[in-house]
């Protein structure tokens, strides 16, 4: 019997999956079992769009389609949790299996805290993530740094600190450090990220720590929940998955890889946050950068913390409507409402048409708040202040009571009838 806390090597015993699978195909095998056993109604996965630089989410019910989803697309920078909230009813009406990166897992937790996703209906298989590269940057990087036509590349991976491409006529790897020195490489939020093994998921999978005869042929699986344990057991029983206990040496190596990634993350945090300066200097920087804002509302739209229908940025008393440049209050509202829970997923920065380093600003503030209050977003279901009330319910309460005190029910709970 598998149980929470188990460290396993897993690989598929399904002949069909084996043909296409990477690293033992354990993840695909588990999803196949989950769909066939109705543990989930659908799997929300990612496939290649127009090419390997284009990650497109797909909702799959037919296990046969699983083989057509992509392994890892390092140029895919989707945030799956917000898509589940926006387009799949927050998983309220179906059980959904999702393969998640660290930021996805954190985002699922934050949206669940705010009652925007029903976590009971979500099964997460986490995958280790060393960071991702925006597609257009990746293509430019391959052309300029690798001197390879990006159209000719058929595979990419990040391994042992290198971004490696395979193309017609060869393969080439360049260290991520070198790429990032040259202004390419991972998104800046990914560089600062320290959620490398998403243990919030039901299973945390990856290739770090797979050594010995199973190297390259199995997936490292850390069982992170009872739900995850059940899934593994079921998959073994149904004959699609085989496991063995992870090599203790491998476990150690996995820890070392994670530790090295943390160090790198810390280095980038220091680098990025120090460049922001402190106090008034930092405020000045933030004000001058955000002055370019064109009010597209996309930072709000993609944010895994934001969900309000009546967003405060649309309160004319705070932000005069229809004006550019946008009143700085627009950004202050975002900081006030989000910073305690920012998971540094980077979406707000990636979609910003005005080149504002939104994620950097928010993440920097989150770090300050974490230092002050000790609240760590995206890791547990512990509620931050802003998540104590759900917008619609709270607005209704304010409307009915005539109060404008948002928190009085938190500190002075309204007695139930």
């Amino acid at each position: 019997m598998t149980k929470k806390g188990d460290m396993l090597y897993a690989w598929t015993s399904d002949a069909e999956i084996q043909k296409k699978a990477e690293l033992g195909g354990a993840v695909t095998a588990i999803w196949k079992y989950a769909l066939e056993s109705k543990a989930v109604d659908a799997v929300f996965a990612v496939t290649k769009g127009v090419d390997l630089y284009d990650a497109v989410p797909v909702l799959i019910r037919d296990p046969k389609d699983l083989a057509k989803t992509a392994g890892s697309l390092h140029c895919g920078t989707l945030l799956m949790a917000k898509l589940v909230k926006k387009f799949l009813d927050g998983a309220n009406n179906m059980k959904i299996g999702v393969t998640v990166k660290g930021c996805d897992a954190m985002a699922f937790l934050e949206l669940a805290k705010r009652k925007q996703i029903n976590l009971d209906n979500i099964v997460m298989i986490g995958v280790n993530c060393g960071g991702s590269v925006s597609p257009v940057v990746a293509r430019k990087m391959i052309k300029e740094k690798y001197d390879v036509d990006p159209e000719k590349v058929h595979k990419e991976e990040i391994d042992k600190g290198q971004f490696i491409i395979e193309y017609e006529g060869g393969h080439k790897g360049i260290s991520v450090d070198e790429l990032e020195e040259a202004g390419f490489g991972r998104r800046s939020n990914c560089r600062r990220c320290k959620m490398k093994i998403p243990r919030q998921a039901d299973l945390a999978c990856g290739n770090w720590g797979v050594i010995g005869p199973k190297a390259g042929k199995a997936t490292f699986v850390e069982v992170c929940s009872e739900k995850g344990a059940k899934l593994v057991d079921g998959a073994i029983k149904s004959g699609v998955l085989a496991t063995e206990a992870a090599n203790p040496k491998g476990l150690e190596i996995r820890g070392k890889v994670e530790g090295a990634m943390f160090k790198l993350g810390d280095k980038w945090r220091k680098h990025d946050f120090e460049a922001l300066g402190e106090g008034k200097e930092r405020l000045k920087k933030i004000m001058s950068e955000t002055a370019r804002c064109i009010k597209c509302y996309q930072c709000i739209d993609v944010c895994p913390i934001c969900y309000c229908v009546d967003c405060t940025t649309r309160n004319p008393a705070y932000v005069p409507p229809g004006e550019l440049p946008v009143n700085f209050m627009f950004h202050l509202i975002r900081y006030a409402h989000i910073a305690d829970s920012c998971v540094n997923c980077g979406q707000c920065e990636e979609v910003c048409a005005a080149e504002i380093p939104n994620a950097l600003f928010m993440h920097a503030q989150q770090q300050e708040l974490e230092k002050m209050f000790g609240h760590v977003p995206g890791t547990t279901m512990e509620l931050p202040l802003m998540a104590y009330v759900e917008e619609k319910e709270e607005r209704l309460r304010l409307h009915n009571t005539g109060s404008d005190m948002i928190y009085e029910n938190v500190f002075k709970p309204v007695p139930k009838k």
Binding site: V56, K86, L88, S134, V136, R292, I294, G322
Partner: protein
């Protein structure tokens, strides 16, 4: 993409609004649109969008869409079958053309709709009725660019791609508020600023784009030629012109030199201090690579074509054309304003700018279109605005595809009056708009989310438009409607089954785009025309080594400054400028149906200087009346320093707004009306 049965569908397509051509994903489930998600794979915008692009899906499936053909019976519109509606159109158009000749018909197509629709409409007009009275609404935005740049360089299109500004050493934005009007081209300017590339913005108004500038030059509205001439005087005077470039690649220098002699100091015309002019002239001439980006501030004037040629003059004089980081780039207003012109929806050219006056071109088209030899007309057709002015007298019937003339054309009251004089008017659109009530037949077309096709952006990039959902009710693809009309008339060559069929029909007669196949534009890098062969990679930068003109030379022109047709006087003491705001698109048919956009700008407004407001006793956000010789408009006053004293700015988007006031006086060369400049007076509205 992998063949997966996914309930949630992403359709990568092109934004339907401005000429930047941003990529985006439409998200749908079954036949229901759910939203827009970033298309980060697009090299144009990398997933980033403006407020309009991000909400473009919202208007598609809102109530109010046209779902059935409508025929006017008495005062009322009644639903009709397609056969009935199309037969009625054919009957009227045929009869009128027989009785009054081909000049009695007018055809107008939108720059918002796909290339395939534009090609289809002009083909039908020319094949069925042997008329060149076919035009598109580029006439009232970038007609002067087509005319002016053709004269200067031999091609009427932008010379360099948007992203190429990052290769510049100096960016000049002249009469362009890209941050609001072309936000994702504006983003390139923001990137350039971050990279330390100096930016000069020449604009009478402190626009959001001017706020980005290292140097903002405020000048008097519509005095471009005087300012450019003065710059060129000093460039020549100080010997900063590119002598080798002038000698090798241009003609007309002497003419230019002579003309600018009189502009050593033109401050009293343009209002810019002489020292600033000199400094700017030196900066532009000395920059290793300098690019000029301009927009409707240049074109929408009675001097539009000359203003454009003045931009051409500057670049030719200093050799700033024909390589990365330089050029003269009009930011095209609408998503397909480049394409509508490319498709030959133009009164003097077939697709690819093949002149109708050239007998060989006509002979080629007659053969390709199964027409009798000698049947295509050689005359210069009537333009969009001339067609309106000729309603009743010359033009008896008109076919309008995707336009709302009574709001978007100058002098709305005039347009309404002229429409009343028509014997027969067809409107083909997606929504019932303000112009439909003047129609005899209204046909339901489909919008960008409901059809395949292509938009050609302002950088000559042919971007794919892909169908995500079906159109509502009995609506049809717009090219399909035209195809039905052609087939019903027994014409050959209208039997298109798909948008690609129409595109391939166009390619077969258009040398400059023959190589732009659907296959080659499957990926979002797409292709910049010219692209003459299947193997050709396309042409991001024009005029490298040789100009597109017949003699291969760029031409400089000596151009004298002329004041606008109507200037402020004692009775109408204010100058009214018009333009866009970021939250709306044109007449708001689509954008006002998006909750977020409506929230931000629900009503017409006018910017007025603090001093003027004080003098008139006007408070911030008070409603005021603005009156011109042609009409009046009520607007919310935005009291600001962004406009100079005695200058007002009103967005163009509102019915009974700016175009109640604007002037219909035309640029003699391009027939562009003077939408950017007229004289008005301002009054407080006294409480009843």
């Amino acid at each position: 993409m992998e063949d997966i049965k996914s309930e949630l569908k992403y359709t990568a397509t092109t934004c339907p609004y401005c000429g930047v051509g941003c990529g985006l994903n439409l998200v749908s489930k079954g036949n229901t649109l759910l939203g827009v998600e970033p298309y980060k794979r697009s090299p144009i915008n990398e997933g980033k969008l403006c407020p309009k692009g991000a909400t473009c899906w919202e208007s598609v499936q809102k109530p109010g869409r046209l779902t059935k053909p409508l025929i006017k019976k008495g005062d009322k519109f009644e639903e009709a079958s397609w056969d009935e509606a199309l037969d009625l159109i054919i009957k009227n158009f045929t009869e009128i053309s027989k009785k009054n000749g081909p000049k009695a018909l007018g055809f107008q197509t939108s720059c918002r709709t796909v290339n395939e629709d534009c090609y289809a409409l002009q083909k039908w007009a020319r094949v069925a009725f042997q008329t060149n009275n076919v035009d598109n609404c580029a006439r009232i935005c970038h007609g002067p660019s087509v005319a002016g740049l053709s004269l200067s360089f031999g091609s009427g299109a932008a010379t360099n791609p948007f992203e190429d500004v990052l290769n510049s050493d100096l960016i000049v934005m002249w009469g362009s508020n890209a941050v609001e009007a072309h936000p994702l081209a504006g983003r390139r300017i923001m990137q350039a600023k971050k990279a330390g590339i100096p930016i000069v913005v020449v604009d009478p108004r402190l626009s959001p784009t001017a706020r980005l500038a290292d140097k903002w030059i405020r000048f008097n509205p519509s005095t471009h030629i005087a300012l450019a001439n003065s710059m060129m005087y000093w460039i020549i005077k100080e010997g900063l012109e590119d002598k080798e470039f002038i000698k090798e690649r241009t003609k007309g220098f002497e003419d230019l030199k002579k003309t600018v002699e009189n502009y050593a100091d033109a401050e009293k015309i343009h209002g810019v201090p002489l020292e600033t002019v000199k400094e700017f002239a030196r900066q532009y001439a000395n920059a290793k690579n300098a690019v000029i980006i301009y927009c409707l501030g240049i074109t929408e004037l009675t001097t539009g074509t000359d203003n454009v040629r003045s931009m051409g003059n500057l670049s030719l004089l200093t050799g700033n054309i024909g390589r990365p980081g330089v050029g003269v780039n009009p930011l095209r207003g609408q998503n397909n304003v480049q394409g509508a012109c490319d498709m030959g929806a133009y009164p003097n050219v077939f697709s690819g700018y093949q002149a109708v006056a050239v007998p060989d071109n006509r002979a080629k088209m007659e053969k390709a279109w199964f027409m009798k030899e000698g049947s295509l007309p050689d005359w210069y057709g009537s333009t969009l605005t001339e067609q309106i002015n000729d309603c009743g007298e010359v033009v008896k019937a008109m076919y309008v595809l995707g336009l709302n003339p009574v709001v978007s054309y100058p002098d709305s009251n005039h347009v309404k009056k002229m429409f009343d004089k028509l014997d027969f008017l067809v409107m083909q659109d997606i929504y019932w708009n303000e112009s439909c009530q003047y129609a005899d037949v209204v046909l339901p077309g489909t919008c960008f989310a409901e059809k395949d096709g292509t938009f050609t952006s302002g950088e000559r990039r042919v971007n794919r438009v892909r169908k995500a959902v079906d159109g509502p009710g009995e609506s049809k693809y717009d090219w399909e409607i035209i195809g039905m009309l052609g087939k019903k008339m027994g014409l050959k060559g209208f039997d298109w089954k798909t948008a690609q069929d129409v595109w391939d029909d166009m390619r077969s007669v258009t040398p400059g785009q023959f190589g732009v196949t659907y296959d080659k534009i499957e990926k979002p890098e797409a292709i910049h025309w010219p692209c003459p062969t299947i193997e050709h990679p396309g042409t991001p930068i024009l005029h490298v080594g040789k100009f597109a003109a017949a003699d291969g030379k760029g031409t400089m022109f000596g151009i004298e400054y002329r004041p606008p047709a109507e200037v402020a006087d004692a009775e109408y003491p204010y100058t009214l400028m018009t333009g866009r705001c970021i939250f709306h698109y044109h007449t708001r048919t689509q954008t006002d149906r998006c909750a977020a956009l409506h929230y931000d700008v629900p009503e017409n407004y006018v910017q007025i200087n603090t001093l003027d407001a004080k003098e008139l006793g006007i408070r911030q956000h008070e409603k005021i009346k603005v009156t011109s010789r042609r009409g009046e408009s009520i607007a919310i006053a935005r009291v600001t320093e962004e406009v100079a004293p005695k200058v007002l700015y009103m967005p163009m988007h509102f019915a009974n707004g700016a175009n109640n006031l604007t002037n219909t006086a035309l640029d003699p060369m391009s027939k562009m009306p003077e939408l950017k400049h007229c004289a008005v007076k301002v009054e407080k509205i006294t409480e009843a």
